[in-house]
């Protein structure tokens, strides 16, 4: 076996030779019993290895390994899409909770401040009411009693005193009802006639809190 050695016979068995080489090897083994036996033994080994371990192919694939390949975890986007439907009731519930919270907060706020929000005046509206009163006083006589309307609210006023102050100005004190500025109720007010002939509010007395600067 000088020309065709053992390795070449194995290459022949394993299909590693081209057509010319196959023919050459086949001619050789036909004339050499020892080589033929070797080739047969190599073929048998291949066949036995194959038939011994190939039978597993007919068996069911292992479940846990299949699960690795089948249980595909969804991507982040698909997870988001899948959860979209679930998010709707979640958002609805959150919105409902927020509505309840806002409602509760307002009720609590009203409870803590029971004054009617409609008669609470801002600083700006307070000046409007005072201007109305100043005009009324300027155009009217003594013992004034009436109502100043502003928006939906009626502010009742009643003159309780007319006098001259220490500066020699003509002044009038008024008592109010339902005259509320923000969170305090104006109980009394003093209006004095200035040098230019206009009446101005010079002092407001509140049920509580500080006097505003006029």
């Amino acid at each position: 076996m000088s020309k065709i050695d053992d390795l070449k016979l194995q290459m022949y068995v394993d299909g590693e030779l081209d057509a010319a080489e196959i023919k050459e090897v086949e001619n050789f083994i036909n004339s050499n019993m020892e080589a033929k036996k070797l080739v047969d033994s190599y073929k048998k080994i291949n066949h036995l290895v194959f038939s011994t371990y190939n039978n597993i192919k007919s068996e069911d694939l292992p479940r846990k390994t299949l699960d690795l390949l089948i249980d595909d975890k969804p991507s982040f986007i698909s997870q988001l899409l899948n959860y979209k439907i679930k998010l709707v009731p979640a958002f609805a519930a959150a919105a409902a909770v927020m509505l309840v919270a806002i409602f509760t907060f307002n009720v609590q706020k009203d409870f803590q401040n029971p004054a009617d929000p409609n008669i609470l005046l801002s600083d700006k509206n307070q000046n409007i009411v005072l201007n109305q009163l100043e005009n009324i006083i300027g155009q009217s006589q003594d013992n004034l009693l009436g109502v100043v309307s502003h928006g939906d609210q009626d502010i009742q006023y009643e003159e309780i005193k007319s006098y001259s102050d220490n500066k020699g100005r003509e002044c009038k004190d008024f008592k109010f009802s339902k005259f509320q500025i923000k969170e305090v109720t104006v109980e009394k007010g003093t209006f004095c006639k200035l040098a230019n002939g206009q009446w101005k509010a010079t002092k407001l007395e509140f049920l509580k809190g500080n006097l505003p600067e006029l």
């Binding site: 590693e16 291949n46 371990y53």
Partner: protein, 171 residues
């Protein structure tokens, strides 16, 4: 299901057969297959890189995973797992053979007498029908080494159990 998983599913029966051939035991083979698939899925979890030849990649991964597992069994990094024969692998003495056919069991015993490096070459060529070139690429060794290892494996099988092989071939 990702493309990688689809391809793995497609080649899984072949990979499983190789794992069985490599370990010599169905349960160990299935465990090896599972661990190898876990490894590749973990490695390419966040990667869109296309694996050029998944089949070859997996054969190599399985071989390397098996050697890693053998190292763990020996609890030593000093051991050359290529030279380990299956009859001496710790914790495997109580493994039962799957077939009731005695002659096949004897053949399995003969194959178990081969070292890892001879066995993986024999399995890739005789069981997986890979060419010498493909085997060399999978195992990252020269073709000449493939041929010499294959020759050595066959010679050992013939010497170990010449009679049984001949008998089993006729069954």
């Amino acid at each position: 299901m990702s493309k990688l998983k689809k391809e793995l599913m497609f080649i899984m029966p072949k990979l499983r057969r190789y794992c069985y051939g490599l370990t010599g035991n169905k349960d160990m083979g299935d465990e090896l297959l599972h661990n190898s698939i876990v490894k590749i899925l973990e490695k390419f979890k966040f990667s869109f890189t296309q694996i050029e030849n998944l089949s070859a990649y997996m054969y190599r991964l399985i071989s390397n995973t098996w050697k890693d597992e053998l190292r763990k069994k020996y609890r030593s990094k000093e051991i050359n797992v290529d030279e380990v024969t299956y009859n001496n692998i710790p914790d495997t003495n109580n493994l039962s053979y799957d077939s009731n056919i005695n002659s096949l069991n004897e053949i399995k015993e003969s194959i178990n007498s081969l070292s890892v490096k001879l066995r993986e070459v024999l399995m890739l060529i005789a069981l997986e029908n890979k060419s010498y070139k493909e085997t060399a690429e999978i195992l990252n060794i020269p073709i000449g080494t493939v041929m010499s290892r294959l020759n050595e494996a066959r010679k050992k099988l013939r010497l170990n159990n010449n009679t049984n092989l001949a008998e089993a071939a006729h069954e």
